[in-house]
Amino acid sequence: MENRQRIYLVLIVLVGLIFWVRLFFLQGLDDRFKLAADTYSIRRLVNQPLRGNIFDRNGKVLATNDYAFDLMVIPLETKEMDTLALATLTEVPIEEMRNAWKKVNKNIEKKRRYKRQPQPLIRDLSQKSIAAFQEKMYRFPGLYVEKRSVRRYPEPFAAHALGYAREADAAVLEKDAYYQPGDYVGVAGIERAYEPYLRGVKGVRKIYVDVRNNEKGSFMDGLYDTLPVPGADLTSTLDIELQKYGEQLMQGKRGAIVAIEPATGEILVLVSSPSFDPNWMVGRNLRQHYGKLILDPAKPMLNRAVMDGYPPGSTFKVMNAMLGLQAGVINPATVVPCGGGFRISSAHTVGCHGHPNADLRFSITTSCNAYYCHVFNELTKTNASARQAYTAWYLGAQRFGFGTKLGTDIPEAKTGLLPSPEYYDRVHGQGKWRGLTIISLGIGQGELKANALQIANLATIIANRGYFISPHLGKALNGKPLPDSLFKRNYTRIDTAHFQIAWEGMYGAVHKPGGTAKIARLDSIAVYGKTGTAQNPHGKDHSVFMAFAPSTSPKIAIGVLVENGGFGATYAAPIASLLMEKYLTDTITRPELEERLLQTRLE
């Protein structure tokens, strides 16, 4: 029986040995646990930097940060509470309050959130509601107020140019790992284009958390923590006063205005009408406003200044004149008999409005259709094949910015449509089309599509006598000018001298008898303009106008497009004229014209 003692000793030693071997593997040899333990108990907290402000060219604040107050709830800590009293106190409709609670409970039911995890109940409460709530907070255990930075736009203008920043949605989160839920991200306009500068650098804080995610002190006493770096302040090229005036003039009309400083390519004005208050895109009523904007048949969210657009109409003729001169198919003295139109065939004639036979200068002034059909016809039959000739013209027109995005920094910019040779091969069949088939390109109609930015840019090219700098909205970051290399100088490869005739013709259109844009005339300043009418198969034609002024080193080039505005001279020209007068002289000498335009409603 005594030897049974040994069983106990063996058992004890055996168990001790097994445990020790197990511990040797667990603690000594296996590294997995060391890493896992850290990821388990250390959380990375992100400190959001303040988003950079946006200023206009004169230093006015266009976008800045404000504080919003969210009513947060920790469901575990709540007790039975008076929802109605809470709704009354915070001035939230009772229905909304009930839905908010439903959502909170659903989040827990669906295991999207834990019961001890804070989640927002109502977002963006007013300061007043918050004050009222905080007084009675003791009655609502589990609720508290969290302060959060939100975007504010002090001037309710330039919505399309500024764009907006809002919380990153699922699509953004999936695409870019930088963004975490709750981060702000610029989704349009300047906010989007300069997002990497505006957003700043997130600060990181590492903390220990316990199993319930409660903070339990900082990791390594904050050795690896970083402070957030605020986003850079962006100075934009916009002139908010002029922008505001442009938006007022466009009220009740659909269309777009773009004004560019020719020497720099800086966009002074970018109006797309109808517009909206950019503040609608942030804050509590976003959903409501957003729904309204999306459903509006006038499509206020569409940036009409850079959309695909409409035929540029007669403004296009100036470019064709330049291409004709450069190719040598015409010279300033070339006279084309008008005779009421250009005969394509016995059955088809491009009509004109009956005026004396024109030379090149006068053809611009009077916008002669026959002249430009002739020019285009000549241009497209000089070479062996129509296709080759057209290709040369096509590349020339592209250098004027048509069918391109101009290298602009506006993220929404579209190319418009400049039909490529391949396009016509597709439509008409290879070798089955020639210059006469597509003669309407000569007068800026047909398949062509251009937007206000491209038309303003055409005016810029003429003002600059042959080149343009990619039009842009960004001017300086933290007061430091953006590098010139960002916006390159684009040459049309037209001799500078040729532009003299364009200047003279456009001067005539505004200031000479027979001119189509006499309404744009300013008494003290030389204005160079060209009207256009974009044919619209769906309704009244669109009114188009481009212009620049003054004569010595032009300060402003402008493109205006008013949908269903009829002739260019009717609406587009006077709007451009008033804007130029305001910008160049800071006065309005024609209050009755201004009044008429402000009153006009085309919708």
């Binding site: 603690q27 958390v209 199993v211 002190g217």
Partner: protein, 459 residues
């Protein structure tokens, strides 16, 4: 070292090795109970509103109790063993009547918000005294078998049958007296065990198996020991491979034993056949019980032994986090008070059942090795000293104490490193808890007292 080296006088008679290990373990436990809270929430280790402070108070009480035990006479325990046993049963009945539920077990008597006691911890002590007293009368001196009521025989039939067959198999012939002797011992253990089970305290119930372990030293059929290990092995393997393959293996094994070891003895056919049927039945039945009777959470608790990733957020969670805490301690630990998982509540019950993981995280393999060595020394010392006792009562008591401590050590540390199912038993002297500390102190110091008076016993 032998007992005879010890010189006279009270101090010289006390086994200071046991006392020393006890003191070290108690202080280590107290330190780590204090460490296992987030640093901001850590009060002074003497602050009674914290767990460390309460443990400190209990430690002082236990020192007092230990000292008082030293002043008593060993005869007292033998004389009072039945009253004590009755007191233990009364406490267990009381807890069934007025006990309150804490953490799923209805095993607490709540005196006030500060003091809760868990009678099952003391019942172990009283049962140990009673069983040691019973075992101190060896089989050959035991009174003749008394008459037992019929329902008792029916109730005890399986174990009786096994023991009877063991007699037959060993070729000793059926000795009814021996069978009855052990049956009585099983009754002494079984009554408190059933009461504890009624409190739904699985861990404390399983501890009563430790008493059976001690009984082997005093002549309980070793066959039961092997049978127990065999059954446990069969049960666990039946979860991994189909039971019918196991049964096939058993048949082949039995035939092998019968042919090559028992020399085809015809006398062995009946008992061999019986054990074969028993084991096969257990294998098939065990799997059936596992699949159909056990609750899903009990099933996963067992299955995570094989695959800790089986249920990482559920029942594997505790064990997984405990293993992670211990593993992250590496060779030398993160340093005292620098643990992360055990101080941030990632390891549940980190001051009671999972105190070992707090030590492992903060002191690494170095610390866990020291703790294991301390327990090995304590347990082997207890066995060695128990064996030297002249009084059969003290000897039996010593073995029982060693087996209870061994069982707790095995289940507790085994759980924290994923080698034993999580049944929830404290680590003796180390885990937080006044009742368990007092219970273990009573067990250990009673034995130290009995041992100190060893030389007074006439051979």
């Amino acid at each position: 070292m032998s007992t005879n080296d010890r010189r006279g006088g009270f101090v010289g008679q006390v086994d200071w090795v046991l006392v020393g290990i006890y003191l070290i373990l108690v202080v280590v436990g107290w330190m780590h109970i204090w460490s296992a809270v987030p640093s901001q929430e850590r009060l002074s280790p003497f602050d009674f509103s914290s767990e460390a402070g309460k443990q400190f108070a209990w430690i002082l009480i236990c020192f007092l109790v230990g000292a008082v035990l030293m002043l008593t006479d060993m005869k007292l325990y033998y004389v009072l063993r039945w009253p004590f046993f009755a007191l233990g049963l009364a406490l267990l009945l009381l807890v069934l009547a007025i006990g309150q539920e804490v953490g799923g077990n209805k095993s607490w008597i709540v005196l006030n918000s500060f003091i809760k006691i868990q009678p099952s911890e003391f019942a172990k002590y009283f049962t140990a005294l009673a069983l040691a007293g019973y075992l101190s009368t060896p089989l050959h001196l035991a009174p003749p078998a008394a008459r037992w009521p019929t329902f008792f025989w029916i109730f005890m039939a399986p174990i009786t049958l096994v023991m009877s067959l063991a007699d037959l198999l060993l070729g000793q012939g059926l000795q009814m007296k021996r069978v009855v002797y052990w049956l009585k011992a099983f009754v002494i253990i079984g009554v408190p065990a059933i009461l504890v089970l009624a409190e739904k305290d699985t861990g404390s119930t399983l501890v009563y198996a430790a008493f059976v372990l001690a009984m082997f030293r005093f002549g309980l059929y070793l066959l039961l020991f092997y049978l127990g290990i065999g059954l446990a092995f069969l049960f666990l393997t039946s979860l991994l491979i189909p039971p019918w393959i196991l049964v096939l293996g058993l048949v082949v094994l039995s035939l092998g034993i019968w042919v090559f070891i028992l020399g085809r003895s015809p006398k062995a056919i009946l008992p061999m056949g019986f054990f074969l049927v028993l084991l096969s039945g257990f294998t098939m039945g065990g799997r059936w019980v596992f699949d159909h009777v056990l609750m899903p959470h009990q099933r996963t608790r067992i299955m995570v032994l094989f695959n800790p990733d089986l249920d990482p957020k559920g029942s594997g969670w505790n064990v997984n986090n405990s293993k992670m805490a211990i593993g992250s301690g590496s060779w030398f630990g993160k340093g005292f008070l620098n643990g992360t998982l055990t101080q941030l509540n990632f390891v549940p019950k980190q001051h009671t059942d999972f105190i070992f993981s707090a030590i492992g995280e903060q002191w690494g393999l170095l610390g866990t090795t020291v703790v294991i060595l301390l327990f090995l020394t304590l347990l082997m010392r207890l066995i060695l000293r128990a064996e030297m006792q002249r009084s059969p009562f003290a000897k039996a008591f010593g073995y029982i104490v060693a087996c209870i401590l061994f069982f707790h050590f095995f289940m507790n540390v085994g759980t924290t490193i994923g080698l034993a199912p999580a049944v929830g038993v404290p680590l003796p002297f180390v885990s937080y808890g006044g009742s368990s500390l007092l219970g273990f102190t009573l067990l250990l110091f009673t034995f130290i007292k009995l041992d100190a008076q060893n030389l007074e016993v006439l051979r």
